[in-house]
Amino acid sequence: MNAKTEHFSRNLIEFRDVSYHINDILRREVISSVSLAVPIGETLVLLGRSGSGKTTLLRLINGMLLPSRGQVLVQGGVTTEWDPIRLRRGIGYVIQEAGLFPHFTVEENVALVPSLEKWDRCRTAARVGELLCLVGLDPSEFARRRPRELSGGQRQRVGVARALAADPPILLMDEPFGALDPVTRAELQREFRTLAQRLQKTIVFVTHDLREALLLASRIVLLEAGRIAAVAPPQEFLRLEHPEVRAFAASLETNPGAPA
């Protein structure tokens, strides 16, 4: 027991030789033999082209998908043995289009998990106010708005606040800033960095933007066709010789200088 406790106190998430194939006739393998450990407090960035399996990997963490082979451990427990509802209540999740509930106000969106967890009113209200401030939205102005009355950047902020609401130790973010204009995006990235340092969450962040990965990651995992192609901290990532790393690095070189 001691060994186990000690083990998961370091690694909040762990993939042990995980493969996942689509459950249809073709049984195409979209994740192949992934082994990976995410220690507490890390901001792990999953980088990869479209279709490389980034979203699939996230969904394996919160039990929305179960591995075909191998095991995914979250807080020391195998996902197949977790009660999926309990597992997910402890994991914040942010997706590209925010996925806010259009029939809820901003306040109600943020209060979702606390309300599912039956927090009392005062505690929920206080938490919602605190979180809206944290993501830079003035509660008096935004709390009662509906998602359709927000800009894309504001929606993403609400999405982040909602994911953080019940103070989950783990945060999964699937291209949270993908749909934003470059300026807003840079702004949210900067804020995210401060936030991540302050909150001490274990974060798995998905992107296909190398620049974003270099900026936010404590470690970058490069996925290629469902396999891990490279793992490195951002300072070392660009020095790697792997062809897929070179391909991403090349995109970095051509982009900024490109004429408008």
């Binding site: 997910r88 999740y93 029939h103 979702l112 998990v113 909602r162």
Partner: protein, 214 residues
């Protein structure tokens, strides 16, 4: 004398009778719609995640819809308990007609939710029931109501035929008018029925717009 004025004087002379028949008609429609809603909406919610049941139940509802109304009323008369002459048979038939539009819209509305919203709901740790009642259903409400609106208008029209099996309502005037070759009598049934349909359409349309969230 112009046909118009003879029509109006007919209306004036028989206004009590016409009002009574209109109320009967409304009663027939309301009872049928309430029953149809209580069957079709829960059924739609039940079949939304069960593809096999969905095909069967929508298929059956479809079949009822294709039976000509006069024939359906005829078929029902000899059936014990639900059949016979009168209101009850008419209500059974009207319910059968109203089922399909409500069922189909309930189903379509519940299915047509933004996948990102459903993904978020699942990832937040909402149970299936919570997703159904707190996300799918409120977001589908406007579409469900559109089905109820369609069904109501159909029912108001078909209910006029129910007079053929002695269920009363505005159809009584129409059938009498056809038998006596009297335009005034036919209009005394047809005009209030048309007005009822328009009013229902307008009111339910308003409600539907209020419920539309996005």
């Amino acid at each position: 004398m112009s046909p118009g004025s003879s029509g109006w004087s007919f209306f004036a002379e028989h206004r009590a009778e016409i009002l009574g028949a209109t109320l009967d008609h409304i009663e027939l429609v309301l009872i049928s719609m309430v029953i149809a809603m209580f069957i079709a909406v829960p059924l739609g919610m039940f079949i939304v995640q069960r593809p096999a049941l969905r095909a069967v139940s929508i298929g059956i509802a479809n079949i009822f819809q294709t039976i000509p109304s006069l024939a359906l009323f005829g078929f029902l008369i000899p059936i014990p308990f639900i059949g016979g002459i009168g209101k009850r048979t008419a209500i059974v038939a009207l319910v059968l007609y109203a089922l399909l539009p409500i069922l189909r819209n309930t189903y379509v509305g519940l299915r047509g939710i933004d996948p990102a919203v459903l993904e978020a709901a699942e990832a937040m740790g909402m149970t299936r029931a919570q997703i159904l009642f707190r996300v799918r259903f409120p977001l589908a409400l406007a579409v469900i109501l559109a089905g109820i609106r369609t069904a109501t208008i159909i029912t108001i029209g078909i209910a006029t035929i129910a007079a053929a099996i002695g269920a009363g309502g505005l159809g009584t005037f129409i059938f009498r008018g056809v038998a006596l070759v009297s335009d005034s009598l036919i209009l005394a049934g047809a005009i209030p029925a048309a007005l009822l349909a328009l009013a229902a359409d307008f009111l339910l349309g308003m409600l539907e717009r209020r419920l539309r969230v996005v």
